[in-house]
C-alpha cells in the first residue's frame, strides 16, 4: 500500500472475501474499506473478479467466505430484513445500463421510487422528470422506450434510475464502457456531481484510467483475487508497484502475463 488509509468507521468494510466458480478462485481473500462520503475505484484486468466483488456486496452472488459490513452490519450474517434495509440504500449503475425494455424511460426511473420508497405513481413520475433533468435529459425523453435512445443517453437514464431514490451508497460498473471519450467524460462528470450532491459513498469499477482518476478519491487494484495496491487516485500513475504500473500504463511486458490462446 502506498498510502495509509483514512481512519474511522468505514461505510463499507470487506474482509477475507472469497468466491470460486468451480476450480477457478476468482476472489481470494479481499480486504477493502470505503470511508463515508468517499469514492473508491477498483481497477483490474478483465476476469479478475471486479464485477463479482460488487455483485457479492449487492447480494446478487453468494460468497464462499468472508464478511461484508455496511455501517458495521455484517450483511452475510444479518437477518433478511436488516440485510434488505441495508441494501435498499444502494444505487447501482450496470455496465450496459440494464434498463427495462418493457417500460418507458420515465417508468424505469420511477421504478425504484415506487418499489423502494413506496411512492405513488404520479409523485414518482414527477420525481423521475426532475432526476432526468439532473442528468441533462429533457422530460420529453421520459416518454421514449430505452431502445430509442443512444448509448450515452441510456447511460444517463441508468444513472438517473440509480440516484432517483437518493441512495447513501452508489456502485458503478464500468460507467464509461462503450462510450466515446467525450461522452465518457460527461458521464464521469455527472457521476461526480451526483455523488457530491447526495453525499454518497461510491464504489466504481473500471478499466478506464482517465475515468478512474476523474471519479475516484482512492483507487484499489485487484489482481489474482486480491487487492494488491490501494492509494489516493492522484498517486495512481506513480504507484511504484510493478503490477499497477504495467496495468495503468498499458505495457505488454511486465509481471501481468495475459493468457493468450494460440
Amino acid at each position: 500500500m502506498s498510502a495509509s488509509p483514512p481512519t474511522g468507521l468505514p461505510k463499507i468494510r470487506v474482509r477475507g472475501l472469497r468466491k470460486a466458480f468451480g476450480a477457478k478462485q476468482v476472489l481470494d481473500g479481499i480486504d477493502l474499506d470505503v470511508m463515508p462520503g468517499t469514492s473508491m475505484v477498483v481497477i483490474g484486468g478483465s476476469g479478475t473478479g471486479k464485477s463479482v466483488l460488487i455483485k457479492c456486496i449487492l447480494g446478487l452472488i453468494e460468497p464462499d467466505a468472508g464478511s461484508i459490513e455496511i455501517d458495521g452490519v455484517d450483511l452475510l450474517t444479518a437477518g433478511r430484513s436488516i440485510r434488505n434495509a441495508a441494501r435498499s440504500e444502494i444505487g447501482m449503475l450496470f455496465q450496459n445500463g440494464a434498463l427495462f425494455d418493457s417500460l418507458t424511460v420515465r417508468q424505469n426511473v420511477a421504478f425504484g421510487l415506487i418499489a423502494r420508497r413506496h411512492m405513488g405513481g404520479r409523485l414518482a413520475s414527477q420525481r423521475a422528470d426532475e432526476v432526468l433533468g439532473q442528468v441533462g435529459l429533457a422530460a420529453s425523453v421520459g416518454d421514449l422506450a430505452p431502445s430509442e435512445l443512444s448509448g450515452g443517453m441510456q447511460k444517463r437514464v441508468a444513472l438517473a434510475r440509480a440516484i432517483a431514490a437518493n441512495p447513501s451508497i452508489m456502485f458503478f460498473d464500468e460507467p464509461t464502457t462503450g462510450l466515446d471519450p467525450i461522452m465518457g467524460a460527461v458521464i464521469d462528470g455527472l457521476i461526480v456531481d451526483c455523488v457530491r450532491r447526495l453525499g454518497s459513498t461510491a464504489v466504481a469499477i473500471t478499466h478506464d484510467m482517465a475515468s478512474a482518476r476523474r471519479i475516484g478519491d482512492r483507487v484499489a487494484m485487484l489482481h489474482r483475487g486480491r487487492i494488491i495496491w490501494e492509494g489516493p487516485a492522484a498517486e495512481l500513475l506513480d504507484s511504484h508497484d510493478p503490477v499497477v504500473d504495467q496495468f495503468t500504463h498499458g505495457r505488454r511486458e511486465g509481471p501481468i502475463q495475459m493468457e493468450l490462446r494460440r
Binding site: 455483485k55 449487492l58 447480494g59 446478487l60 434488505n84 441494501r87 435498499s88 444502494i90 444505487g91 447501482m92 450496470f94 455496465q95 450496459n96 440494464a98 434498463l99 427495462f100 425494455d101 421504478f111 425504484g112 418499489a115 423502494r116 434510475r161
Partner: protein, 261 residues
C-alpha cells in the same frame, strides 16, 4: 478398460446433470407457487401476461382446433365405414377433441408460441442484467416476472381450450355435413348425447396443468439462461422441448387418472 470407465463416467455425469436440473426445476416451481400466493401482488402484470398468452394465441389455437376437428371427422368416418358404424363419427369427434386434442394441441401450440416468447424475454433480461437490476431495486424477480406468468398460464390455457373444443367440434360438423352427407340436426344430437361433464372437465383440468408447465418451462429456462445471444437461443429451444415432452407425458398420466377405472 479405460474406454469402459469413460463411458460409465459419461453416463454418470449425464444422470447427475438431469437430476440437478430436475431438482432445480422443482425448487423453482415451488418458489414460483409460493410467490403467487404471498403478497405483494401484481395484477396488472398478470393481465398483461394473460393478454399475451391467451388473447394473442387465439388465432393459432383456433386454426389448429378447426383443422384437427375436420381431420378427425374425415378419418373416423372412413375408418368406421368398414364396420358400418359411420354414425359414431360425431361422438368420436367430440370425445377426441374435448378429452385429448383440444388440450394437447392447444398446449403444443402455446409452448411453441408463448413458452418460447417467455424464455426469450426472460433470457434477454438475464443476459442484459435486467433481472439483477430488479433485485437492486428491491423487487423480487420471482414475484415480479415469474409468478404472474405462472398464474396467467394456469388461467389462459383452460380458456383457450374452451375455444378449441368449440371450434374443433365445429370443424368436424362442417366436414360431416358438407362433405360426408350427415344431417345437421342428427349430427348435433349425436354430439351431445355422448358428451359428459367429465369429458369437458378432464380436458380443462389437463389444460390448467399444461398451462402451468408451459409457463414454468419458459420462465425456468429464460431465468437460468447464460452466455449471451446463444444462451438465450438454447434457452428458448429447451423451453419448447421440455414443455412439449412434459405435456405429452402428463397427458398420459392424467388420462390414466381420469379414465382408467
Amino acid at each position: 478398460m479405460n474406454s469402459i470407465l469413460r463411458a460409465v463416467a459419461a453416463i454418470g455425469r449425464s444422470a447427475i446433470s438431469v437430476l440437478r436440473v430436475a431438482g432445480d426445476l422443482a425448487i423453482f416451481a415451488v418458489t414460483g407457487v409460493i410467490n403467487i400466493l404471498l403478497p405483494p401482488y401484481y395484477p396488472r402484470l398478470v393481465l398483461r401476461a394473460l393478454f399475451t398468452m391467451g388473447f394473442l394465441s387465439l388465432p393459432v389455437v383456433a386454426l389448429t382446433a378447426i383443422f384437427a376437428g375436420m381431420v378427425i371427422a374425415l378419418q373416423s368416418y372412413t375408418g368406421f365405414a368398414r364396420f358400418s358404424a359411420q354414425s359414431a363419427t360425431a361422438s368420436i369427434v367430440v370425445l377426441s377433441v374435448t378429452r385429448e386434442l383440444g388440450p394437447v394441441l392447444a398446449g403444443l401450440m402455446m409452448s411453441g408460441r408463448a413458452g418460447a416468447a417467455m424464455a426469450a424475454e426472460l433470457g434477454t433480461m438475464r443476459v442484459t442484467d435486467q433481472i439483477d437490476a430488479l433485485t437492486t431495486l428491491n423487487t423480487n424477480p420471482m414475484k415480479y416476472l415469474v409468478a404472474p406468468r405462472l398464474l396467467a398460464g394456469v388461467i389462459a390455457m383452460p380458456l383457450l381450450v374452451i375455444v378449441a373444443d368449440i371450434l374443433g367440434v365445429l370443424g368436424g360438423f362442417i366436414v360431416a355435413t358438407v362433405k360426408l352427407g350427415f344431417v345437421p340436426a342428427s349430427y348435433i344430437h349425436n354430439t351431445f348425447i355422448m358428451l359428459t361433464t367429465e369429458d369437458v372437465v378432464s380436458g380443462l383440468a389437463k389444460a390448467a396443468v399444461f398451462g402451468f408447465v408451459i409457463a414454468l418451462s419458459g420462465c425456468y429456462h429464460g431465468y437460468r439462461s447464460r452466455g449471451g445471444a446463444e444462451g438465450v437461443g438454447s434457452a428458448t429451444t429447451s423451453a419448447v422441448v421440455m414443455a412439449s415432452v412434459l405435456i405429452l407425458a402428463l397427458d398420459y398420466g392424467m388420462t390414466e387418472i381420469f379414465f382408467s377405472r
